[in-house]
Amino acid sequence: MKKNGVKMIKINSKNVDVFYGKKQALFNINLDIEENQVTALIGPSGCGKSTFLRCLNRMNDVIDICRVKGQIIINDFDINDKSCDVVRLREKIGMVFQKPNPFPKTIYENISYGPTIHGMAQSKNEMDEIVETSLKKAALWEEVKDRLHEPGTGLSGGQQQRLCIARAISVKPEVILMDEPCSALDPIATAQIEELIDELKKDHTIIIVTHSMAQAARVSQNTGFFHLGELIEHGSTDKIFKNPENKKTQDYITGRFG
C-alpha cells in the first residue's frame, strides 16, 4: 500500500547480529519491511530466516543462550532497547508457528486468551464479539460457531492453524509473523491459509517464513533471501523471482541448491 506514493516502512532493522552461545547465526542484517504488505523470507534450512523472524517480537529472549545485537525499529522505537516492554511489543506483533499449537483449552478460551491478558474486553458481550470477529477474519467461524466450547485440540490440522491465526489477530496486532505456517498442512488447508494471508494484509503487515518458493511467489509482495546467516538479496517478489541480481539467489530459486 502506498501513502502519497511513498512506501511506508513498518519495520526497519539495522545491523542485526544474533549469537547462539559463541556461534553467530545472523550477520549484519539490514532489512526494511513495508506496511500492509506480505514479506516472504526464503532460504535453505538453517539459514537464519526463522531466527530473524523471532527477533522481531523478541521471542529469542526465551532461549537462554541467545543474544541479539543491532537495532530493530518499529514505530520509531527500537525494540531491543532496555525500555521496551515485551508484553506490549508482543501485543502489537503477533506470531503463528510452524506446528499448530492451540492451547489445550476450548476454542473460545483459545481466542479470549490474548484479550484477557491485555484487558481488552470489559464485558462478556465484548469478549464474545472479539471471539466472533477474530474467528470470522480467520475464516473459521462457520466451521466452529456451534462448538466454541469444545477443545481446540479436537480440530483438524488446518483448522487448528486457522485457530492459531485467529488467536494471533484477536489482540489486533499491527504485524503478524508466520513461521512456516503451512509446513504441517495438506495442500487444501495450505490454499485456505494462503487465501487468508492475502485477506489479512489489508489490516496487518505480514512476514512469512517459508520453504516453498511457490508459496512465496503466490502470497508475497516482497521477498528476502537468506543464506548461511546473511541476507543475500531482498526486493520485490517479482524482481527476486524473475530477475535476481545475485547468482546465489538465482541458483536457489531455480532449485540448484538448498
Binding site: M59, V87, R88, F97, F103, Y113, G114, I117
Partner: protein
C-alpha cells in the same frame, strides 16, 4: 557338591556355545550362507545344555527326598509303627546324620542314619553322572544336527521370550500370593468379628484380646467393642491429610520452580538434592519427628498455653509431608517439563508473562499429571508406617485435634504383630483385616492415579 556340579554345567554351557559358534564358522568357511549369525548357533547349543540340566535338577529336587524317605522307612515296615511315629523316626534320622540330634541314640536310628548318608551320597553322585551324561548327549545331538540351513535363530528368540515371561510371572504370582494370604485370614477374622462392628465401631482396643488364654474356647462376645476400625481409619486419613497439606504446596511450588524458573545449572544440582530427601530411610524421619519435631511443637504449644501431646498427629503428619515433597516435586517437574515448548511459545507470543503462562496454560495442561503425582503421594502417606509408629503414638484416639496423639492402620498392624502371636487368634487376624483394607484403599488410589495419568498422555496427540 551341588555348587561344583552347577559350576561345571555352566562351564559346559560356555563350551557348547563355543563349539556351536565354531561349527557355524566352519560351515561359513565352506562358502555356505548361514541362516543365522554364528553366535545364534552357539546360543542354540547352550540352550540344549541348559534346558535338560534344569529339568533334571527340578525332577531330582522333587523326587529325591521322597524316594530316600521310602527306602529308609522300608526297614521299619511291618513293625506296627504308626505314620506319625515313622515320620518322627525319619526326622530323628536326618537330625542324627547332620550331627544335630541331642536325644538318646538307639542302634536302630544310628543304622538308619548311616544308610541315609550313603543313600544321599549315592543320589548325589548318580545325579552328577546322569545330569552330565544327558547334557553331553543332548549337546552332541544338537551339535550334529545343526547345519547351514538349520533354524537356530527362532528357538533362541523363543527361549529368551520364555525366560523373560517367567521373570514377569514371578512378580505377578507374588502379588497374587500376598492377596490370597490376606484374603483367607481376613475371612477368618470376619467370622468372629462382624464386618459391621469393624467398619462402624468407634472403639479400637486390641490389647483386650491379649488377655485371652489361647487354650480357652473362643467367645466372640468378649470382642465386642474391641475391633472398631473407625478411629484408626480416621487417624490414617487425618495424618495423611496433614502430610498432604505440607507436601502439595511445597512440592508443587518447587516443581514449578525447577521446571520453569531454575536455570539449567541450578536444576542440575537442585533436583538431585531434593531427591535425596526421598532416599532418607523412613525410620530416620521417624526419630526426627519423635525426638526433634514432637518435643519442639510441645514446647511452643506450652509456651502459648496450649496442651500439646509430645506424640502429636501434627508432628507425624508434618514430617511425613516433608518426606513426600520430593515425590510430588520431582513428578510434577517431569510433567511440567513434558508440556510442549510450543504451548509456552504460543503463550509468550501473545504477550503473556511467565507467571500468566504458567497459571493459564502450563498448569492446566499439566494438571492431570500433577493430580496423578499427588494421588501417588497420598497412597504413600497412607501406607507410611515408621514415622507414625514413632511420632504419633499407638493409642487409637478418635480425634480431629492435630495436637493430640492418634494412630493409623499401619501403626496398629505393627502393634498387633510385634512380639509373640498365635495364628488363628482374632487379634492376629485383625492385622490381616487391616492390611487388606489398606491394600484396597491404596489399590483404588493407584488405579485412579494411573487412569488420570493415562488420560493426560492422550492430551496433546
Amino acid at each position: 557338591m551341588n555348587l561344583i556340579l552347577f559350576i561345571f554345567i555352566v562351564l559346559l554351557g560356555f563350551t557348547s556355545y563355543y563349539f556351536g559358534r565354531k561349527k557355524a564358522y566352519t560351515i561359513q568357511s565352506t562358502n555356505k550362507r548361514l541362516t543365522a549369525l554364528p553366535q545364534f548357533y552357539g546360543y542354540y547349543l547352550a540352550i540344549w545344555c541348559a534346558i535338560p540340566a534344569f529339568i533334571i535338577f527340578s525332577l531330582w529336587a522333587i523326587f529325591e527326598p521322597t524316594i530316600v524317605k521310602l527306602l529308609i522307612l522300608s526297614d521299619y515296615s511291618n513293625q506296627g509303627y504308626l505314620d506319625d511315629e515313622l515320620n518322627l523316626i525319619y526326622e530323628k534320622t536326618k537330625a542324627l546324620s547332620r550331627g544335630q540330634f541331642t536325644g538318646e541314640i538307639t542302634p536302630f536310628i544310628e543304622a538308619s542314619a548311616e544308610k541315609y548318608l550313603s543313600l544321599r551320597s549315592i543320589a548325589q553322585s548318580s545325579k552328577a553322572v546322569i545330569v552330565l551324561s544327558i547334557i553331553i548327549a543332548s549337546v552332541a545331538y544338537a551339535y550334529k544336527k545343526i547345519s547351514s540351513n538349520s533354524r537356530t535363530r527362532e528357538p533362541v528368540e523363543k527361549f529368551l521370550k520364555a525366560v523373560l515371561f517367567t521373570a514377569s510371572l514371578a512378580a505377578i504370582l507374588t502379588t497374587v500370593g500376598i492377596v490370597f494370604s490376606l484374603i483367607f485370614q481376613t475371612i477368618d477374622f470376619f467370622k468372629v468379628i462382624p464386618l459391621f462392628d469393624f467398619v462402624f465401631g468407634t472403639h479400637w482396643y486390641p490389647a483386650k484380646a491379649f488377655v485371652r488364654d489361647s487354650s480357652e474356647a473362643l467367645d466372640p462376645t468378649m470382642y465386642s467393642d474391641t475391633f472398631g476400625a473407625v478411629p484408626i481409619f480416621a487417624g490414617t486419613f487425618f495424618i495423611a491429610f496433614i502430610a498432604m497439606c505440607v507436601a502439595i504446596p511445597i512440592g508443587l511450588m518447587s516443581g514449578i520452580y525447577l521446571a520453569e524458573y531454575a536455570s539449567v545449572k541450578v536444576r542440575q544440582y537442585a533436583k538431585p538434592l531434593i531427591e535425596i530427601l526421598a532416599g532418607i530411610p523412613t525410620v530416620v524421619y521417624g526419630f526426627f519427628a519423635a525426638l526433634t519435631v514432637g518435643p519442639f511443637l510441645k514446647e511452643i504449644g506450652n509456651s502459648m498455653g496450649l496442651d500439646v501431646s509430645a506424640e502429636s498427629a501434627l508432628a507425624a503428619g508434618g514430617v511425613m509431608g516433608i518426606m513426600i515433597i520430593p515425590f510430588i516435586s520431582s513428578l510434577s517437574d517431569d510433567v511440567i517439563t513434558s508440556v510442549p515448548q510450543s504451548l509456552r511459545d504460543g503463550s509468550y507470543a501473545m504477550g503473556a508473562t511467565k507467571s500468566e503462562t504458567i497459571k493459564k496454560v502450563i498448569f492446566p495442561a499439566a494438571l492431570p499429571g500433577i493430580v496423578g503425582s499427588i494421588l501417588l503421594g497420598v497412597s504413600r502417606a497412607i501406607g507410611e508406617t515408621m514415622i507414625v509408629v514413632m511420632a504419633s503414638g499407638l493409642a487409637a484416639n478418635l480425634t480431629l485435634n492435630p495436637l493430640e496423639s492418634t494412630s493409623t492402620i499401619t501403626a496398629q498392624i505393627v502393634v498387633i504383630l510385634i512380639g509373640d502371636q498365635a495364628f488363628g487368634d482374632p487379634k492376629t487376624q485383625a492385622a490381616f483385616a487391616l492390611g487388606m483394607s489398606l491394600f484396597l484403599v491404596t489399590l483404588c488410589l493407584n488405579i485412579v492415579a494411573l487412569r488420570v495419568v493415562k488420560k493426560y498422555r492422550e492430551k496433546y496427540e
